[in-house]
Amino acid sequence: MRLKSVLSCLLCLWINNAAAESYLIKNARLYTAAGTDSSADVLLVDGRIKTIGNNINVDEKITTIAANGAVLTPALFNSYTHLGVSEIDAIASTVDTYSQNSQLTAALKIADAFNPSSVMIPHNRSNGLHYALVVPESAAGLFAGQATLVKLASQAYVVDDSVAVVVQLGEQGQALAGGSRAAAMALLRQALDEAQHYASNQAAANKGQRWQYSNSYADLAALQAVVKGRKPLLVKVSRAADIQQVLVLAKQYQLNIILAGAQEGWKVAEAIAAAKVPVIMDPIENLPLAYETLAARLDNAQLLQQAGVTLLFTGMSWHNTHNAYLVRQSAGNAVANGLTKASAMAAITANPAAVFGLNKQGDIKEGYAADLVLWNGDPLEVMSYPRMVFVDGKPVSQHSRQQQLRDRYYSRAQRAKP
């Protein structure tokens, strides 16, 4: 008897826990890379999307959320941020995005500096952003280091500490290389040649043999996977002519590359598409802010998409870190300038998930991670905001520093009113 009651109690605990892990979102409008207007119920169990269907019936112990036609999207992904590595931009001690140390360029792993306790994280998570690429910047050489993929879960963490090696070309690369784009390209080829040499002489290197390389051994080791085509080289480049040079080099060295910036990408969209190179871009950049972006325009995203380029978005302008969630405002502006809503959603969910190797994430499909956002309106619309945010199948708190500040002063203002 006693044993039985203990067992049943254990069972009831288990059921309660199971129930606590399960949610049924009734009658949501699914808004994903596949389209924006199918309606369905979505059952979340143990952190995953278990079932998608119409009229799913569940045990009354499972919490049911009546969406009443509200939009449900995958959690958002911003493909170019400094989240967790630059707390206050003007305070150098809180900024880890770049290093002046020229011995460590490609070898720098920005993941080592990631701070999961940053106040940026709750702010962005509660606004629907759960994934971000954190990208180092170049300061001592062309190579900035290795980008990392982070997840803004209840406790934010590094998903992959090295998803790409980042290199800076264009105007900034020119300056880093001593004042010529030609020098930058020559330095890049030299680094790749040395990395190839180092890779093919690994056995001798392991025995202690050393060569006169221009790059440090640590940097060449970091470039191994790049020259072998196993890890993407993320190339920051803007001007159409510079993009073409990069595509030629990538073909020559059989590199797997991703372009970032690409403000003039639309002028060479066919070539980018033919090379199957994804592009990280902010669709809102339409100004000739540099001589390398004279042809920047608001329909860049649409023109690239039309040519068949895989798009990964960042945004909004230089607020792509503290307000990384505003990537959806940039995406909305892309739609205002010709991109379809589904393509815009793809660029902030499914596309980056696929390009950066997130297995079964970034979409609303059975078996996928239940990282979802339920909105009060069209998620690409600036007036919309999340009603509920699910991370790993559970609703997360909307608390952030910003909300606490707001509540403190709003309640004071209300008390002061007669």
């Binding site: 206050i88 325009r297 307000n323």
Partner: protein
């Protein structure tokens, strides 16, 4: 007119004294005062046909939404807004069914022309960081009218811009209010008779710029000391001219004081002719600046970049000072750390004069989206802010801060015909401006690029329609 009013008052006083003294003095001299407007506007009101915009949804900038209204533009002015206006003979008719009409947007914090595109050192003329007080510099002497960003911002509906010097200095110099029209000279863009402004900056920027050079100010208390020293000097300078005028009028042969451009601008602030636009992020510093304005007897028109304005919203309302803010920028420095997206809403709640600004050519192209986010944040918190209310943040409230509320910022009879016709709800990310008028002249038409020829800069660099926004 305002700019000259103090001078006119002074001259009137002079003539009064002159006539009163005529019995005693054989010869009364007229004081020679510096020309207060040596770089006058050459803007010409363009000749326009009457235009009748019919059946638009109108946000009038004064707090009202008209669901279906006609607006008649004539001779550069808004002649009438009503539910049904019969077209005058020869009027151009615009069918605005399904479209929204708002006043032309006013960006009270722009650096267009001072930091033009491309952003090169050759072009960067916005921050005279060679001395903490440079009240003697005038932004209009740096503005490059050929900046290719002006046309992009026009497409975003911005018809009036206040171009301010940067914030590296305590007192950065005079700002200038421009009409966003294509021009070869800045004089042709200057808003006729708009009051001048003076840019001041609290906080981190001046103390960092000069602290790094090892000179004052290097602290916030150093900032305050620097401001106060300048005002003390300005008081003395103001008095020297007042004495000169009085003595001259009294018939004494006195030399005019030596002109000092820096002091001339500061004295004009003390005289109430120049309006203070003060970069100030932190609530506590706003309170210091308010006390300082009382210490020296001038008023503050607006605090800009007021990330913490919501903390002192009732004080700003009481002091009649506008708060000029972003929707959601934060984190780029310590003083920008306490951002809340409800800043504008909380200011509105306190009945303070709330204004959006850009400070940035990307933001300036979509101030409608910025106020939409701020409105939504307030409504999410439980307020009930309408579009008609929120549009004031970029129109009539902005006009108040510039002292131009009699002319711009509203769709009402007698105001300048500065208007934006939107192809949908202007608070939607998907909407575009279809047409933009300034003083009744069509300056931008999304469907007719010929209306707005691109800048000289773009010629030969971009082909065909590549310059489109």
């Amino acid at each position: 007119m305002r700019k000259h009013s103090a001078l006119i008052a002074l001259l009137a006083a002079v003539s009064l004294v002159l006539s009163a003294c005529q019995g005693d003095k054989t010869k009364a001299a007229k004081p020679e005062l510096p020309n207060p407007n040596p770089y006058p506007s050459t803007y010409q009101l363009p000749a326009t046909e009457p235009t009748l915009i019919q059946n638009a949804t109108v946000l009038d900038g004064l707090g009202k939404q008209w669901d279906k209204a006609d607006v008649l533009l004539q001779n550069g002015k808004i002649q009438q807004i009503a539910t049904d206006i019969s077209p005058p003979a020869g009027a151009q008719l615009i069918d605005a069914q399904g479209q929204w009409l708002t006043p032309g947007f006013i960006d009270v914090h722009s650096h267009l022309g001072l930091y033009p595109a491309p952003e090169t050192a050759n072009h960067a003329d916005g921050n005279e960081m060679t001395s903490p007080v440079t009240a003697e510099v005038w932004a209009e002497h740096s503005v490059w009218p050929g900046d290719p960003q002006f046309e992009k911002v026009l497409a975003g509906g911005v018809t009036t811009l206040q171009v301010l010097p940067g914030s590296g200095n305590l007192i950065g110099g005079r700002g200038v209010t421009l009409k966003n029209i294509p021009a070869i000279t800045v004089q042709a863009m200057k808003f006729p008779d708009a009051p001048y402004s003076l840019k001041m900056a609290c906080g981190e920027n001046p103390k960092a710029v000069y602290g790094e050079k090892g000179v004052a100010p290097s602290t916030r208390m150093g900032n305050m000391a620097g401001f106060r020293a300048a005002w003390i000097q300005a008081k003395a300078y103001q008095k020297s001219w007042q004495d000169y005028v009085a003595d001259t009028v009294a018939g004494e042969e006195v030399d005019a004081p030596e002109r000092n451009l820096q002091m001339e601008t500061l004295a004009a602030v003390l005289d109430g002719q120049i309006r203070i636009h003060n970069h100030c992020y932190r609530a506590d510093e706003m309170a210091q600046m308010i006390d300082m304005s009382k210490e020296f007897g001038y008023s503050i028109a607006a605090f800009h970049h007021g990330v913490e304005a919501y903390k002192v919203a009732p004080l700003l309302a009481q002091e009649n000072i506008c708060a000029v803010v972003w929707a959601d920028w934060w984190g780029f420095k310590q003083e920008a750390y306490d951002m809340v997206p409800e800043n504008l809403a909380l200011l509105e709640h306190a009945q303070a004069c709330a204004i959006i600004h850009s400070d940035d050519p990307i933001q300036a192209q979509r101030l409608n989206q910025e106020i939409a986010k701020a409105m939504a944040a307030g409504n999410r918190m439980g307020m009930n802010i309408s579009r008609a209310q929120a549009i004031r943040w970029v129109t009539s409230n902005a006009a108040i801060s510039l002292g131009l509320e009699d002319q711009v910022g509203a769709i009402a009879a007698g105001k300048n015909a500065d208007l934006v016709l939107w192809d949908g709800d202007p608070f939607s990310v998907y909407s575009h401006s279809n047409k933009v008028w300034i003083d009744g002249k069509l300056r931008y038409d999304r469907n007719n690029p010929a209306v707005a020829p691109t800048s000289d800069f773009n010629l030969g660099m971009l082909q065909g329609q590549e310059n489109l926004p």
